[in-house]
């Protein structure tokens, strides 16, 4: 059955929208929602989510929250289905949905006003144990109306390695504290015993406690606004509006999927062996489109005793990010978007559907970014004009040591500047420089060089773009970044994680690169002029006077580089984003280094031959 692939038709909104069935218990007849009230309710939900995020950002203590924006806030309804999520971190996009349902199911009817639930365990649909999530049920007139939800990456979760990334863990038990759903507030009463139990297991206790309070603040701000909304419009109208907003999102996603030819599309991508010795691991995605529905099926090899296994909740995020790279839906987001999408993560016990006790802490980047690539590649088969090229994967560094400026106190941090990779090109634009990694899609923020040097005893010698790191294409991939650092007055431990050091970010629509070694990430250690390149996850000691440089991959290109406008190539060469040799070998543009002019005749000849 072949359909004509047309642009999604803009459907006129219905005249007056009646909720499908009475959702409020007491309502006897359908509640009629007018389109104006609907727009106003959507505006209030957006503002509420935003105010939750602001509360968290401004009050949090750990830099991963307040500087890196590694958090997500959402509102769920009583079902519980997601009503709105912000434009926060995509790696949290999908996992909140199953996690909320698992938590609600765990407590069943045992939910009361004033309860606050906490949870991080991937076995209960969490993403990874450093992402701790708070859930606050919102009651109205004794009835469960909403949940306000706040998830964030904490700096430490106990376990043998600070910050939780333990490359030696063969089981989840060796990674840190697992928190199955537990009440931290019970009917409004703070359970000091449980909170104390939890914090006792974490490093930097006061930071963790501050962040916990910040999450509580965010959930409470959300609750306050939602009650004001219910006061104004009443439960039946608000519920009818929310149901209609979900249906609108559903219709929108269906129209996008319906615009693609029916069929079965395949994508496959490889997680490179970044030091575990189990070899490259292939992840496959199969996207089946029938009418306005879509099934996304993942298959991956058996799980391994290394921290890159992904449990189901986290894998859902990878699937949804791949879907969003195709759909490119503007905010706001609700669960209606995914009604027409079914997902199969493959059998339990595999890399992308891990089973206890698989170790997993690296999973939000590896293998999730590869899983995302596989999904987006399958969609590229279906709708090449809509698809974005792959972004650079996270290839990062944690640093630790004793700070001589702070009486030798321990310091440890994930350096966010080390994972800022290049964005993939699109069918309209070159990829953004320094915007990745893929799993964060531009949502992260790296710190200012002076602020970092103030907090940690290092000199940052370089934080800049890298020539030729963006994938070649008609639209060029964004440049990756290099971060070069020298410890001051102490031995610094550099802990590597992630991958993207051998396989470059994949291009789209026929993009090809020649100098693939320049598109990937790596680590370089410079000891007294002797340069050593490291591509496997390692823990390395750097002494004063020595330097270590972490390099991040660039983004993939889009389309044939030999057709890229000559003036665009010339501009890139002028700006040292592309070298003269890459202009020739990747783009077929011959530039005289002495005059910086294009040899048009030779260029046309070379391009004609290509």
């Amino acid at each position: 059955m072949a359909k004509t692939a047309s642009k999604p038709a803009k459907k006129p909104a219905p005249k007056q929208v009646a909720a499908k069935k009475p959702v409020a218990r007491k309502a006897a007849k359908p509640v009629v929602v007018d389109p104006i009230t609907l727009s106003v309710v959507r505006g209030v939900l957006e503002t509420t989510q935003r105010e939750m995020t602001l509360t968290l950002e401004q009050t949090a203590r750990s830099s991963v929250f307040n500087l890196a924006h590694d958090y997500s806030n959402a509102i769920f309804d009583h079902l519980p289905e997601m009503v709105i999520q912000g434009q926060d971190i995509p790696i949290h996009l999908g996992s909140l949905i199953p996690a909320m349902k698992t938590v609600a199911k765990f407590f069943g009817d045992d939910i009361a006003p004033g309860d606050v639930i906490y949870h991080n365990d991937p076995a209960y649909s969490g993403s990874h144990i450093v992402d701790c999530c708070m859930y606050k049920p919102v009651f109205y007139d004794g009835e469960l109306a909403f949940w306000t939800v706040c998830k964030g990456h904490v700096t430490d979760i106990g376990g043998p390695v600070p910050a939780g990334y333990n490359p030696n863990a063969t089981e989840i038990y060796a990674e840190g504290l697992r928190i199955p759903p537990v009440k931290l507030w019970d009917k409004g009463k703070r359970r000091e015993d449980v909170i104390n139990f939890m914090l006792t297991n974490m490093r930097a206790r006061s930071d963790q406690e501050g962040d916990l309070n910040a999450q509580f603040g965010a959930c409470t701000v959300g609750e306050r606004n939602l009650i004001a909304l219910l006061d104004k419009y009443g439960m039946p109208t608000v519920r009818a509006c929310i149901e209609e907003l979900k249906r609108m999102a559903d219709r929108h996603m269906r129209s996008l999927i319906a615009s693609v030819q029916d069929g079965v599309y395949h994508g496959s991508a490889v997680v490179e062996d970044a030091g575990h010795g189990f070899g490259d691991l292939e992840i496959k995605a199969t996207v089946t489109i029938i009418g306005d529905t879509c099934n996304i099926a993942i298959s991956s090899p058996p799980q391994i005793p290394y921290f890159i296994n992904s449990y189901a909740g986290n894998s859902m995020s990878g699937v949804y990010l791949g879907l969003m790279m195709f759909a490119q839906v503007p905010p706001p987001y609700n669960e209606g978007l995914y009604r027409c999408v079914t997902t199969d993560l493959g059998p339990m016990g595999t890399l992308c559907n891990a089973r206890e006790p698989a170790p997993h802490v690296n999973c939000t980047t590896t293998p999730m970014e590869t899983l995302t690539d596989a999904v987006r590649l399958a969609f590229e088969q279906a709708a090449p004009e809509r698809v974005l090229a792959s972004w650079g994967h996270a290839n990062g560094l944690n640093v630790a040591g004793k700070n001589p400026r702070r009486n030798g106190d321990d310091y440890v941090t994930m350096v966010l500047a080390t994972i800022i990779s290049g964005a993939g090109a699109t069918s309209k634009l070159d990829g953004w420089h320094a915007c990745g990694p893929l799993c964060c899609f531009g949502a992260l923020t790296s710190g200012d060089v002076e602020l970092l040097e103030y907090s940690y005893p290092v000199v940052i010698h370089r934080y800049g773009l890298m020539t030729d790191s963006g994938g070649a294409g008609y639209f060029r991939g964004g440049s990756g970044t290099a971060w070069e650092v020298e410890p001051i007055g102490h031995d610094m431990t550099a802990i590597m994680f992630g991958e993207g050091r051998r396989i470059p970010a994949m291009g789209a629509a026929g993009a090809v690169s020649v100098y693939t070694d320049r598109k990937v990430g790596r680590l370089e250690v410079n000891r007294g002029g002797v340069r050593e390149v490291v591509t496997k996850n390692s823990i390395i000691t750097i002494k004063p006077g020595e330097r270590v440089t972490n390099m991040n991959p660039g983004g993939g290109g889009y389309g044939n580089p030999k057709q890229r406008p000559i003036e665009a190539v010339l501009r890139d060469v002028r700006d040292r984003i592309v070298s003269i040799e890459a202009a020739r070998d990747e783009y077929g543009v011959i530039i005289d280094p002495a005059t910086a002019r294009v040899d048009m005749a030779a260029t046309h000849k070379l391009r004609g031959a290509a």
Binding site: K10, A13, P35, T47, I420, L444, D448, V459, Y463
Partner: protein
């Protein structure tokens, strides 16, 4: 000599407003179309209008002015349209990309948008030249500066005909020696370029912010220089007795040469005078908590002042460029009379941020616009007179408005035109209310504690609805609302900001006397500058502030402190002020946690004598019969039902007249809608006071 006049000129994108304050209390507003290609043309036209109005030749008026004050959008427009100077950057090797990396972040709202481009670089990569040098955190030299690198940069800039050069090195705030030497070399080799040095423009911690600020400053510097030269020259020729003062985005005035050297301070000066104008209205009533809202054709600007102090932003993105220097916080959103109503992919009604602009403008302007706008909705609802604006001199086409709303909104949504129009009104109000929440609720202020002041021509039709929605009980609308910012400028003081940095953890043995020494140095500079401006000590006010945080936090909050000697004992007072500020902003404080200081600032104010407020003749409680313009049918309910509503001619109302809503008051440059439950009273200083009595 007692000057008879003070003149404020606010050159906006579309109109140039002239506010003339006459000694004795009269304040007059004039408008002429802006002439961006040659701003002196608009000046000439405006001055001629004034001259004709008061029957005095232009040179006599100018000679009798104690001050001519100019507000300008040239900086803003150059940044908006990317028409600044060709700019080069000299920076620490390894850090030439910080302004392009932009901390690795893509703005929220565009996460999956495949067509949202990166910010345009004001200094392109090939003009960002690395220099081998490095200062480290304690100010010591890690790598001495390679002067040949600086000279090579100058050679490149000369070849490329660069017009402005920014110099910004890492940690130059702790030791500016390299930046200063580099500046000497540039000045020697390229004497004609505009020079902007990071440690001078923004001497505070944060390399990215400082570099970006220095680059924006360089980018705008030559443009401002040229503009100031022209305006100064024009007024000098007319016989002005004093140098022209320019309005800055920090809310104060500065002379032309100061402004062009610090062009970044001119960036968003237009709306920055609103808080002072607001306070000027509310202070006599004993109210120092003011939110001002200004709705024009395309945008809606909001400012907030709490206990007399206005929200200020530092280290924020403005038009996608990071600006460090303090600016009056102006929250702007795309909501104006020209904002277009549209139905999105989901089938929901939206209003703005796209605007029909001045051309073709709203459908009702009859200039060929077919998109339904807020003004079209307002005319369909009966809020705007079908006879037109500006006292009937600017006609409105009601039929065109009706057709636009019917075709684009009402029919697709299955609503009547009246209900659709009311929907547009409601949605744009929701957007504006959300904007007000962003400057108030999100910053820890309860809007119910504030007076709302309406400025701009389009605001008054919406303002009681906004106030009701956010719980504000009192609203002020001056008759001069549409020239409010120009009015704010003539009552402004001279203001300069002096910045420094001294990161310090306030542990028991912290060398806090260092802080005192740095403040003293800043204050010496401040006084010298203001003395040079002609101010006596009694008219100079210095305000100290510090950016502080708990050790481990990355967001600082700015704490204003009184001027007292800072020592080991008095530093406790500073800490207490910080805890209190943190509590106010974030609902909690940690009195036992370690506090650190990051940045220091002295704001220096040279107080100007204030003009007398305008006066309104007194009348009784009831409006005079002559003020009635009969009635009109207004749609005030979502159902689309209409209500017969009395209409008043504002120019015939007297002080003390009370008007109960629903009613409409038509002023020559604005239309006030008083919704049910509100009562308006004209006060003795030409301001309407609206109270929510419901």
């Amino acid at each position: 000599m007692a000057y008879r006049y003070r003149l404020g000129v606010d050159a906006g994108g579309t109109f140039t407003d002239f506010v003339l304050s006459v000694r004795g209390g009269d304040v007059r507003l004039y408008k002429t179309p802006s002439t961006p290609q040659d701003p002196t043309l608009a000046l000439k036209a405006g001055l001629n209008l004034i001259s004709a109005d008061i029957g005095e030749p232009v040179p006599d008026i100018i000679a009798a002015c104690d001050l001519c004050i100019n507000g300008t959008t040239v900086g803003l427009n150059a940044l908006l349209q990317h028409k600044g100077a060709k700019t080069g950057l000299i920076c620490t090797a390894g850090h030439e990309d910080s302004i392009e990396i932009r901390l690795g972040h893509k703005e929220d709202g565009y996460r999956y948008d495949a067509e949202y481009p990166p910010a345009k670089m004001l200094a392109e990569r090939y003009l960002r030249v690395p220099v081998r040098e490095r200062i480290v955190i304690d100010g010591s030299i890690h790598t001495p500066m390679n002067e040949a690198d600086v000279r090579a940069a100058c050679e490149l800039f000369r070849r490329e005909k660069v017009e402005a050069v920014a110099i910004s090195f890492v940690w130059s705030v702790m030791n500016p020696v390299h930046e200063r030497r580099a500046a000497e070399i540039v000045a020697e080799m390229l004497p004609d370029v505009f020079l902007s040095v990071g440690s001078e423009v923004y001497p505070q911690v944060r390399e990215y912010t400082r570099t970006s600020t220095a680059v924006v400053n360089a980018y705008l510097g030559p443009i401002l220089e040229k503009y100031v030269r022209r305006i100064d020259g024009y007024f000098r020729e007319l016989g002005a007795q004093h140098p022209v003062r320019y309005f800055q985005s920090n809310g104060g005035l500065a002379e032309g040469q100061v402004l062009s050297a610090r062009a970044v301070y001119a960036i968003n000066s237009g709306p920055a005078s609103a808080p002072q104008a607001g306070l000027y209205l509310t202070e006599p009533m004993g109210q120092r908590n003011v939110i001002t809202v200004d709705m024009g054709g395309t945008s809606f600007d909001i400012t907030l002042t709490y206990q007399g102090a206005t929200n200020v932003t530092r280290n924020m993105d403005f038009l996608r460029y990071r600006i460090g220097v303090p600016m009056i916080q102006v929250e702007s959103l795309g909501a104006g009379g020209g904002s277009i109503a549209w139905i999105d992919d989901f089938g929901l009604l939206n209003v703005g941020p796209q605007s029909a602009g001045a051309v073709p403008g709203p459908a009702c302007y009859g200039k060929g616009g077919t998109a339904p706008t807020v003004s079209d909705a307002n005319i369909m609802l009966g809020y705007l007179s079908p006879d037109g604006l500006l006292g009937g001199t600017f006609g409105l086409d009601r039929k065109a408005a009706e057709k636009a709303i019917k075709d684009k909104i009402a029919t697709p949504l299955g609503l009547s035109v009246e209900r659709a129009a009311h929907g547009i009104f409601t949605i744009v109000n929701t957007n504006m209310v959300n904007g007000i929440r962003r400057v108030s609720v999100e910053k820890g202020f309860d809007p119910r504690d504030f007076v709302l002041v309406g400025a701009g021509g389009a605001t008054a039709a919406h303002i009681t609805s906004l106030a009701r929605e956010i719980g504000i009980k009192r609203v002020l609308i001056p008759k001069l609302a549409s020239g409010f910012c120009a009015f704010g400028q003539i009552i402004a003081d001279v203001k300069h900001n002096y910045l420094a940095t001294r990161p310090m953890r306030l542990e028991a043995d912290a060398p806090v006397e260092d802080i005192e020494a740095r403040f003293n140095k800043l204050e010496q500079h401040a006084r010298a500058q203001l003395h040079g401006d002609g101010f006596k000590d009694r008219d100079i006010k210095l305000i100290r502030s510090m950016d502080m945080r708990y050790a481990g936090q990355v967001h600082e909050c700015t704490v204003d402190i009184a001027t007292f000697k800072i020592d080991a004992k008095s530093i406790e007072k500073v800490k207490t002020a910080f805890h209190a500020k943190h509590q106010q902003l974030f609902t909690y404080s940690e009195p036992n946690s370690l506090v650190e200081i990051v940045n220091l600032e002295v704001q220096a104010v040279g107080k100007m004598p204030k003009p007398t407020p305008p006066a309104t003749p007194k009348g009784s409680r009831n409006p005079p019969a002559a003020a009635s313009r009969g009635t009109r049918k207004l749609v005030l309910e979502a159902s689309g039902r209409s209500t017969v509503t009395p209409i008043y001619d504002g120019s015939k109302l007297k002080a003390g007249n009370k008007i109960k809503g629903p009613a409409v008051i038509e002023e020559p440059t604005t239309t006030i809608l008083i919704t049910p439950g509100w009562v308006a009273e004209l006060d003795e200083h030409a301001t309407y006071i609206l109270n929510d009595v419901a």
